[in-house]
Symmetry: D2
Subunit: 419 residues, 4 copies
């Protein structure tokens, strides 16, 4: 961390990969609503009283742009969210001009090899995805750099919001940066998420991976982030069922109650759900959802299961049912069950805003490498550590309390809810 306090933020760009998907649509219209004052920043964690002392970039100053591989428009995505009762019609109507401007800054991305057969892909994105990997990285990086120059931005944060890509067996070149660059030179195909992360760092940008795809989590790219002095974080936004698991499991642990089984059933019907319906894509996701639990409970005997089912009619309304069977004193068998019903995209969007702000501050403050203080936002924090949500959130408050850029002398990090 730089010892000199960071300057006040000026113009910040946010480059969204998957820029016309549901989350990006919520981000785009949400920003418009925040700017016009018709929305409150509900769900934005960095508005928490204990974090306000940080000189974070004001949310309403963000300039948006991005990559996208599908054909649909932001307006179509919005219309769908209105039909689902997530976006308000008046918000959409009021944001038309601003959205048109964002749309003009969205360019074709690179389709992952395993997704080539999907419906609705743009030709340009298919072509770029079929180019040699080095060429793809250069083109993607040039898009980002061009955006920064054209919009006269001080800093750009790249955020991966694309659908989960298919899991692959680990490759030796992912272990070291020199090998990875050599593999690129040799034209060895790579998952798209690695190329995007590589492009972000090449372009001198911080990178946030909100998906379960590999992104910057492999050693080679973590090395690259350090070499390019860029902060990064991920993987896989913790928005719903896993959030609850990592809030509830520490209670069972603290009370020394023995969890016998924790069954989790997720139902969703948006594009993410459709993609996850495929085995290879699902694999990465389920791994993230299951590990948190075992790690917190610290008990190998616990029986766990996480399922994700595609239920088209639910669309963006993700519904999770969890059943926890546990043993108390005297061997008595008890249970907790919960049902969570939330709009996946509306839960994710404000966290994306938080992460852009935190990545921008880290970049401005000269911090590089894994942003360990963002663990509470992710199912699989790349810096590792506890999965206990409250402990992770406390780490964020601690980071804020001792950050050199604080507007006032650090007075200790008051814990959430204590004030």
């Amino acid at each position: 961390m730089s010892s000199a306090p960071a300057n006040a933020p000026r113009r910040t760009g946010a480059w969204l990969i998957g820029a016309r998907g549901s989350i990006s649509t919520c981000v785009t219209y949400g920003l418009a609503g925040l700017r016009s004052g018709s929305l409150q920043p509900v769900g934005v964690c960095t508005e928490h009283p204990s974090l306000r002392a940080l000189p974070l970039a004001p949310v309403d100053g963000f300039v948006l742009g991005g990559h996208e591989v599908c054909d649909r428009s932001l307006e179509d995505s919005a219309a769908e969210l209105v039909r689902e009762g997530i976006l308000r019609e008046d918000l959409v109507a009021g944001a038309a001009e601003e959205v048109a401007s964002v749309s003009s800054r969205i360019v074709p991305g690179a389709v992952d090899a395993q997704d080539r057969g999907s419906a609705g892909l743009a030709d340009a994105a298919l072509r770029l995805g079929a180019a040699p990997p080095r060429e793809q990285v250069e083109k993607l990086a040039a898009d980002i750099a061009g955006f920064r120059a054209a919009q006269k931005l001080d800093r750009v944060v790249v955020v991966n919001l694309a659908s989960t890509e298919a899991a692959r067996p680990a490759q030796p070149e992912w272990e070291r940066l020199d090998r990875f660059e050599e593999a690129l030179e040799r034209g060895r195909a790579q998952p798209a998420s690695l190329l995007y992360a590589c492009a972000a760092f090449s372009a001198g940008c911080a990178y946030v991976n909100f998906t379960p795809s590999l992104g910057s989590s492999v050693p080679a790219l973590r090395e690259m982030a350090r070499r390019e002095h860029q902060p990064h974080c991920g993987n896989d936004g913790k928005t719903g069922e896993t959030l609850l698991k990592t809030v509830l499991a520490p209670m069972f642990r603290a009370r020394n109650l023995r969890v016998l089984a924790w069954q989790g059933y997720n139902m969703l019907g948006n594009r993410d759900g459709e993609v996850l319906n495929d085995g290879a894509h699902r694999e990465a996701k389920l791994k993230n959802k299951d590990e948190a639990l075992r790690s917190i409970l610290a008990d190998e005997r616990v029986h766990t299961r996480v399922g994700i089912d595609f239920v088209p009619s639910l669309k963006d309304w993700k519904t999770a049912f969890d059943y926890v069977h546990f043993e108390g004193f005297l061997g008595a068998r008890m249970s907790l069950q919960f049902t969570w019903t939330g709009s996946d995209s509306a839960l994710a969007a404000p966290l994306v805003l938080d992460l852009i702000r935190l990545a921008e501050l880290a970049s401005r403050s000269g911090e590089s490498g894994e942003m360990a203080h963002t663990a509470s936002f992710f199912k699989a924090p790349i810096a590792g550590g506890t999965h206990d949500f409250q402990a992770q959130f406390q780490a964020l408050l601690d980071y804020a309390a001792r950050h050199p850029s604080r507007s006032s002398p650090a007075a200790g990090a008051p814990r959430s809810g204590r004030s």
Copy 2:
């Protein structure tokens, strides 16, 4: 806190008020099972790795005795718990001799004036409850002192496990100890829980109030605890729905999600449920259950409701249904609902063991007054502070980490789940 490290514990007594009720029955048979090795200490928090460095009295050394106002026997209470699937038949069979010995140390308590009409009260307890208050205190204190002498105990902890007593309007004499003692002299009737707490302190004992009754929470008795150099804690064990509320509400706060309504419905069928079916008895309980939520959410607009219904067939199996309606980003309306099914007594009993151990250590260490570090155990901690369960539990870990009696040099308090 005494600066001198405490000696190793010798013989500890636990004096239970309501000694033949469900919780006491679970405590009694549970201790027998722990001693014989047929039970594991599941649900006992002080077995948490981070608390093991404290020189707590071994659970299996506790000697039990107590006051009781009802006629039923421990064996009858146990048979009921076996029928409900809470106590195991073999545990009951194996503990027969030990339970007979505990039974011989249970003597008549004092019936609260408002409970005189209840069924199944012992004549001696009715007579004692009708005596002048000063006389009641003296008799109760003498019983406790006699138990300590007869059993050659180093320390006795008094625990209130009696059914909730009827709420009363606050009295001026509860505000100062001199006025309270004067009122006793003048023969002014007092709630039984105040007399028990007064007797505990008079007898030089630590006092734990696991019920919503007043106990030691009024200023006069808090003053008395300090005068008599005794530690005490309460009120109202946090075992189920409120525990979940104080675990989940901080998540909504940390994520800046706006809780619109939190409806809680509790169903139970044990004696506690029967007593709470009466308006005056219910009042105290509901107050405790509702305050925690408002305090954590720090939002006056949230609509809350807590209901308790007596459902005879459920017996000790308390079932709570909570519905949380909340707003996320973009104004999207979401919900969380949970159902908790647990044996109220089996959840409470191990916490009682924890509190006896912590009170004994505090007493041995020369600590007096409110045991602020036990807040995580109570719906309405008498020392106040946050209701956030994880923050409360962290305070307990912090207490353990810096306690002078620790067996090894304090090496910081590792947080639950981090190791």
Copy 3:
């Protein structure tokens, strides 16, 4: 029942009491949507294959009008339902002209004496509610007759959709028509719902009571219905929790499983919920919800409870949580719990259409008195009989199968689901 087959329907009017409330708003916009083809008749029972042989009036021919005591407009009610995600914006936009025409046919009703203090009441409705009862009936009947004449309608069905009125102790004049008419003459104040029902019959109209208010259910008005040769039905539309109870309870009975307790918790936030928050208004409702269960289970020992709580943020989205505790073979204790989340108004509106069609047919066919075949629509069917939903629905199919107006020879009533 008339032996002569009824003529084909011509023009049918539906006169709604509470014509700008939520249900009426759903009826009004729903009819517009059905007419324009933008809506399917989902939720309309009379579209069931086994009922299609009846010569029911086509839904899209209904002409609407009604009484209303509140000031709000149909457009305001619609805007609220759009915000709640119940009405679609495009449906509202497309129906503007038609709705304006319906609005012009809504006139002030009569405010019930006990509701005089409520907010938002129209002055004219307050004045009418304060007039002598006989005068009120005459004015209300004249409004309905005027509507029929102006619109050249063959038949008008009057439907009570107003908020529940406060329960009153039974009056002797409700027992016989002559006494009731005498009481009107003498100026004795009466609940508004009785006056509306009296007006409907006076105007020669069939009457449907979709609310828990008294309406036509008292003996005096049942006598009047017969004297005026009008069919009528009620009380209290069975749309949600009670519907489920009357579907599930027969299963427990058929399987000889012993229900120990059935706890029902209802949460809602619309005007109905607000009105029911008041003790006197709630009384009638809860009575209806509880009786069905006891009647089906035929077991006096079952512990039941029905609660209704006003949760403002839920608005029209009624959420019911039911917990059923039951005993199986060997005395094993089991449970069923369910959560029902439905838009109260969108569930009610299609049933209102069904009842208008059935009442119009009954009237056209010369049937008078209680429409026993409509029992499946009501929590408290005025003709009594079983509360078992499937048995009630079978009675409707049987009625259809043997109705003289059937388009084809009755071939027995095929049971739902068999075809």
Copy 4:
């Protein structure tokens, strides 16, 4: 159906396949409890008032015997059910003598080829399962005939209660009896359930298939039942989630509500659950659970899913979570979710008693072939027809109302709940 009224029942035998499994254990101890008067016949449908006029064999006269392939004893199975809170200790103690007598009448069965690798199989059962199929049938039939002779029984009903066997592709010889017998002659291996059914009919016994295994449901064995003049029924007892589905789905249909998705998640931990954890065994079960829903809703667009997960800690306590997403009027999206928690074996056992009584009566009355009136007991009734539970139950009441053996003149079949 025979026109002559049947004689009063004399001695009835019940031969259980899987005679030491959980359901059989509940049947055995349950019968003992009914005989001694310590149990009420809760869960026994044939005790329904409308069925009492049938001259059914008294439950407490049944003589038990059976086949079993596993080593465990009835006493061990009972001890497990006591630990799970399903069987009462006192019931077990009181039945010791009677159970010893039943145990002496349980002989080795034949292990299905695909189950040979399972743990705990008795050697004799493995040997018998490896013998030529014709020999197996002869041995199994001789066991049953020997039981009838030794116990001087008038009639024996054979009931398949064994764990689900692995699904197999349909074989040509299952289509016609002559081909099946030829295949037996030629020594072609057959699923064990077919051999048991064949043995039952060979021995002149009625046959009940309470499992999803093939049993008597293939055309060849249906032909055999008719040839041997024996009644039979199956498949797969409808005890929990499917029961609820077939009770609730008709409501959605009657109300013309459009079910969009019906997701069903089943968790169980008994031997049945363990067996179903295997893909091949699961296949048959899931097929039965899914078909009922589609058939009742008569809508091909509905998205359904049924999952069964093995959760060891739940043991016999089957927990099912169903989420129903549906559309109402105006396109409004609504939901119903339920959680069912029941002891699988305690729910099944009384239905087994019902089916033995009904099969015995049918046999005594000279009825042969599929017992269509038992459809309400099965997930996949072999005689087909509606899956609507209430319609199925009505068919049973109708059967009873017109049965020639009724003790009093048939007075119409009063429907459940109407009286």
